[in-house]
């Protein structure tokens, strides 16, 4: 490299930097948030108020926020495998002049056959498939799972029509060091469905928040 080429190179760096400065607002316009929605390293599962401020984490500005809680009466689940669908509303960022969009997350509450501590036990999951975002179904009759390429089903299951992922509410799978119910027993899904946090107070079941990540 001769002196002239070297000088050209030196000069080109600030020129390219200035160009990048011009281009970056365009990308900010396309995606104005300053942080990621979620990465697998962050343990932001559960209610955002539980983890905000802890271990230096703040809510990324486009993290969806719960709009209102969903409640059920325990009498709605009289027997094992009784289930109820519900819709959970979230406010999520939308890059239009409206700024916010109310996205509706469909979910399922399913009563498990085994009671825990004398109280009924539940699995409360988002119906949005963690594979590619379709809405999956609950199959109360295990024989229905044959249509989802899983003929060996023994108990009711969740199954997705798009790419035939099947989840078993009775088994758990490890995700980021936590055991989550709804193990993937068939199909390409990488993890169990996203879980809702819920409380049981007296005779009501209150669904409070959705595990972060994923696309609604």
């Amino acid at each position: 490299m001769n002196r002239r080429d070297f000088l050209k190179l030196i000069v080109s760096i600030p020129v390219l930097g200035a160009l990048a400065l011009f281009v970056s607002p365009l990308f900010r316009y396309l995606r104005p948030s300053s942080g990621p929605l979620q990465t697998t390293d962050w343990d932001v599962s559960g209610n955002p108020t539980d983890w905000q401020g802890k271990s230096g984490l703040v809510a990324p500005p486009d993290m969806p926020q719960a709009e209102r809680q969903v409640t059920f009466n325990l009498a709605d689940f009289p027997s094992p495998w009784s289930f109820q669908p519900f819709t959970f509303s979230q406010r999520s960022k939308e890059y239009t002049f409206r700024h916010f969009q109310a996205s509706k997350i469909p979910g399922f509450v399913v009563r498990l056959p085994e009671d825990k501590d004398g109280k009924p036990d539940f699995i409360v999951v988002s119906r949005i498939c963690p594979h590619m975002g379709c809405v999956f179904n609950f199959l109360p009759d295990p024989a229905e799972a044959a249509a989802y390429n899983y003929p060996s089903a023994k108990n009711p299951l969740f199954a997705c029509p798009c790419h035939l992922s099947v989840y078993d509410p009775l088994q758990t799978q490890e995700v980021n060091g936590k055991n989550i119910p709804g193990k993937v027993v068939s199909g390409p899904a990488p993890r169990p469905p996203r879980q809702f946090t819920y409380d049981i107070k007296d005779a009501t079941l209150v669904i409070t928040a959705l595990e972060a990540g994923g696309i609604a």
């Binding site: 990465t39 999520s92 996205s103 469909p106 594979h131 790419h163 390409p188 993890r191």
Partner: protein
């Protein structure tokens, strides 16, 4: 050109520039430089057909813009109302079927270029542009059918917006490549590639960012529709400006089709639009996914791939196929252009076409055995390349590549025999190469991972070894058959070659 034998670092930039310049001079966007060939063969009219269909799409699109309401509340109704108007229905149908015609023409054109090796002799850039025309037509179609805002549109877009997120999410059972204690049945290569995407992903969050830029938020809504609307325009308009600049500069005729042919194509599209009016489907409902749910026909094969593979690999494959196709053309050495004289590339082309068609049919029939099918497809892939390899060998009688190939097959299939069933059983990711099987075996031995032998996979492994032994026998037989001619060739080489 200067002397090419000597390697000169200083001349490299100039040579590189000349290399690019040669290819730019031979650019052919819509077969406009092949006017003389078009009389002989309809295959060379595909570029013109693409351009003609594109113009139809543009003109019908201009009218449709005036009638369409790009909001989530009104879009479906505006399209549905349009479909109930006789003229509107034909307009919409013409727009849709012309778009489909573009994709068909671009696909066939890529196949023509592949089988006639048009990428040779400075045609690389033309081939890349041919692939690009196909990809752009497909993405125009994808951004277009969201605008109808029906169920198919919504769920296909959901999948399209979700799959890039896997660029951030490292594969299942991932661990740092040096973190052997935490491997948990995963393999080395996913861990290395995963480390790359993880390091880049921590800086840029490329997957979620892509997804958010596409959707304009964290869910499909008004912002998504507006963005896709603008993208749908941009893909055509920017290209129109560029191609017009190209035609203006080079004084080329845009469409070299004869008038009756043009009339026939337009009439065919209009009749299709009248006889099969474009469907509206049902309004999108974010809470119900119909079973089965399909994308438009040109994405069906990729959709089946998503069923078969781990989503991380399916994403990499989906994004990688155009690059692999382009990369392969650079491995097609020699000046031979006829497809029957390039057997490996012929069989790869046939294999790709077969898998595209069969995958599409399988997903339409909603058939996929996720646990057992992928090894069959992997076998199909390998055996087609092997057939090409044998064909090549019988034609060119090159001893070394054949030996290397057969030995490679024998080694990997022996590995499969001993270890593959462990991998398949433990990871569900089929088609692992031998090295990964070794890792899984070490893992099973030293870290006590659960191992169970599945006899289906054992039989598969034995089949692989049998296949390799068969290859050895056939190769040996062919070589033995050729012995007389080989001696002749060697004698002639000794006459020609100067002894060292």
């Amino acid at each position: 050109m200067t002397a090419t034998n000597s390697f000169d670092v200083k001349a490299l930039p100039a040579q590189g520039f000349q290399w690019v310049k040669d290819r730019v001079q031979k650019i052919d966007l819509f077969d406009e430089t092949k006017a003389d060939l078009q009389a002989e063969s309809p295959w060379y009219q595909l570029g013109g057909m693409y351009y003609l269909a594109w113009m139809l799409v543009l003109f019908t699109g201009i009218v449709l813009v005036a009638l369409y309401l790009p909001t989530t509340a009104q879009a479906f109704n505006s399209v549905d109302l349009l479909s109930h108007n006789p003229l509107g229905s034909v307009l919409r149908g013409l727009h849709k079927y012309s778009g489909d015609a573009m994709i068909i023409a671009a696909t066939l054109r890529v196949y023509r270029m592949w089988f006639t090796a048009e990428y040779k002799n400075k045609g690389e850039l033309t081939f890349i542009l041919g692939i690009l025309l196909l990809v752009i037509a497909m993405y125009s179609g994808l951004s277009g059918y969201l605008l109808i805002w029906n169920q198919r549109a919504f769920w296909a877009t959901k999948v399209f917006a979700t799959f890039p997120t896997y660029l951030d999410i490292t594969p299942a059972n991932w661990a740092w490549p040096w973190d052997f204690a935490h491997y948990k049945n995963s393999w080395l290569i996913p861990n290395i590639i995963g480390a790359g995407t993880k390091l880049v992903g921590n800086l840029t969050h490329q997957g979620f960012s892509t997804s958010q830029i596409l959707m304009g938020g964290s869910s499909i809504g008004q912002a998504t529709m507006t963005r896709f609307y603008s993208l749908h325009f941009a893909l055509s308009l920017i290209l129109l400006v560029l191609s017009e600049l190209y035609f203006y500069k080079n004084r080329m005729k845009r469409i070299n089709l004869k008038k009756p042919v043009m009339f026939l194509i337009i009439a065919l599209l209009v009749f299709t639009a009248i006889i099969f009016p474009a469907e509206s489907g049902t309004r999108s409902n974010p809470e119900v996914t119909p079973l089965p749910i399909l994308s438009d026909w040109y994405f069906l094969a990729l959709y089946q791939l998503l069923k078969y593979m781990d989503p991380y690999w399916a994403t990499l494959w989906t994004l990688g196929i155009p690059f692999v196709t382009i990369g392969l053309t650079f491995l097609d050495f020699g000046s031979e252009r006829h497809w029957l004289k390039r057997p490996i590339f012929a069989t790869i082309g046939i294999m790709a076409a077969m898998e595209f068609i069969v995958f599409s049919l399988l997903i339409i029939a909603n058939m996929a055995n996720i646990e057992n099918d992928p090894p069959y497809w992997f076998a199909h892939l390998i055996s087609m390349i092997t057939i090409g390899q044998f064909w090549h060998w019988t034609m060119y009688k090159q001893r070394l590549p054949m030996t290397v190939w057969v030995l490679f097959n024998l080694v990997t299939s022996t590995w499969y025999l001993f270890f593959w069933h462990l991998v398949v059983e433990n990871t569900k990711l089929n088609g692992a190469f031998g090295g990964h099987s070794m890792i899984a075996w070490f893992e099973a031995t030293f870290h006590g991972a659960a191992v169970s032998i599945n006899f289906t996979n054992l039989y598969w492994s034995m089949l692989w070894v049998g296949f390799s032994v068969l290859q050895m026998l056939v190769a040996g037989f062919l070589f033995w058959m050729d012995r007389a001619k080989r001696d002749e060739r060697e004698a002639s080489l000794q006459l020609e070659g100067a002894p060292a």
